[in-house]
């Protein structure tokens, strides 16, 4: 019995403290080091935050370069298949151009009318100008089973702050949760940690909560409210962060929200440098 206990303690100690050969560090010393780094990062001091931001910037750039082959090969495949369809597409596009040419005049008229109406209403939306919009490229889109986020190539250098809303084609995508000098992390709407106030077509208010899967869900709806299919969901802007009326998605038959933008297909996004976030 005592021999067996000795064996156990020898093997246990050896596993924790063994060094030599290729092993320059013992497991125990690295566990302590990892714990120190972990707590320094969690209870970050003024010193650790810039260090972490610097490490993030460097690693994100290397990740972008290292992932080039994984982006290149699917792109080549897509290019070949799209090249095959080019004649067909050309015909279709010509027809579309004609159609849009005729619509253009209508749009200009409506845009002018819209501006004038917004002037009358004195909405905040009208006061925003294009200098508040930053176009950013998605550097890393690693699909984690636990966290749904992307990394973009704009950071504090371009004035991006934590909390700023991120959109694609004017559809809401998420918000900035971590900023570095040259890059930022965007928490997507379907992440489990994402919560945003939304308004539905009929005026009902709710909270859009990420579920960790592709479709977020609606919480805190009015009592006896029944969700039906095809209800449009917009950001309500009640938190003062998201622009009121930014389209988010549509409800589906399961009562979840089908986002207008597929969170797995993002390559460029825009960050809205909302003045309310800046003042926070």
């Amino acid at each position: 019995m005592s021999v067996s206990r000795d064996d156990f303690s020898i093997a246990f100690r050896s596993a924790l403290l063994q060094r030599g050969g290729a092993q320059k560090f013992s497991v125990l010393s690295l566990i302590f080091l990892a714990l120190i780094i972990f707590f320094l990062d969690i209870y970050g001091t003024k010193f650790t935050k810039p260090v972490r931001a610097f490490i993030n910037d460097v690693v994100y750039r290397v990740t972008y370069l290292a992932s080039a082959p994984t982006r290149f090969f699917p792109q080549v495949g897509q290019n070949i298949s799209s090249f095959m369809d080019v004649r067909e597409e050309n015909k279709r596009l010509k027809a579309l151009v004609e159609k849009y040419e005729s619509l253009k005049l209508n749009v200009e008229f409506l845009a002018d009318e819209n501006k004038n109406l917004q002037k009358i209403l004195e909405t905040e939306y009208f006061n925003q100008n294009l200098s508040n919009i930053v176009l950013a490229k998605v550097l890393v889109d690693k699909n984690s089973p636990f966290l749904k986020s992307i990394i973009i190539n704009k950071g504090t250098r371009t004035g991006i702050l934590k909390g700023m809303p991120v959109t694609k084609d004017n559809y809401l995508v998420g918000r900035v949760v971590e900023t570095n000098y040259l890059s930022s992390r965007v928490l997507l709407l379907n992440d489990l940690n994402s919560r945003i106030p939304v308004t539905l077509d009929q005026g009902a208010q709710a909270i859009l909560s990420g579920s960790g899967s592709k479709n977020p869900i609606l919480e805190y709806l009015p009592e006896d409210y029944e969700i039906i299919e095809d209800i449009n969901v917009f950001a309500s802007g009640k938190d003062g962060i998201f622009t009121p009326g930014t389209p988010v998605g549509k409800t589906n038959e399961k009562g979840e929200v089908d986002l207008f933008v597929d969170p797995n297909q993002l390559s460029f996004v825009t960050v809205n440098k909302n003045t309310q976030v800046q003042s926070k």
């Binding site: 050896s14 596993a15 990892a34 972990f38 290397v62 290292a66 699909n143 984690s144 636990f146 960790g212």
Partner: protein, 170 residues
Amino acid sequence: MAKISIINKIFNSGPLLLLYYLCISEIDTNLEKVFEIFTLNFQIILIYFWVLKRPEIMANGHIFVAGLINDVVMGFPLGISSLSYLIMIFFGTYVRNKSVNTTIASDWFTFFMAMIFSNILFFTLINNFSELSFSFAKIGYNMFFTLFTFPIFWLLFNIYQISFIGSRDA
């Protein structure tokens, strides 16, 4: 002769390079797009196998750094993946010290124990010390698929070891 030695070195570095590449690149083993619940933690399978079979080609320091890189890319608090990987190393080294010869079944069982402890530590620290929250269902699926794909990777790594590195079991 020198050429053979260089080729051997490249083959020996293969698992470590794969670990670094998995941590730093966009490549992931989260196949949600194919099958909604299929996710697995390939890194811990890789680490456990090679620590058990050929610890000299998976140095502790490298695994620690790979963990830090993984944390940065995934957005976890720094050091948490390293801790999780170090627990796998600890179990792997312990099993290696205690056993004379290992089989796929014994490795599978000890891997299960190592993964349980490693994941408990990982999620306990994250739950208690960070603002991140996780779906327990996802964690369960991840552990399930990691455990049940272990024998497949065990066989593949074994073939790699026999073909390119040479067998030197404990």
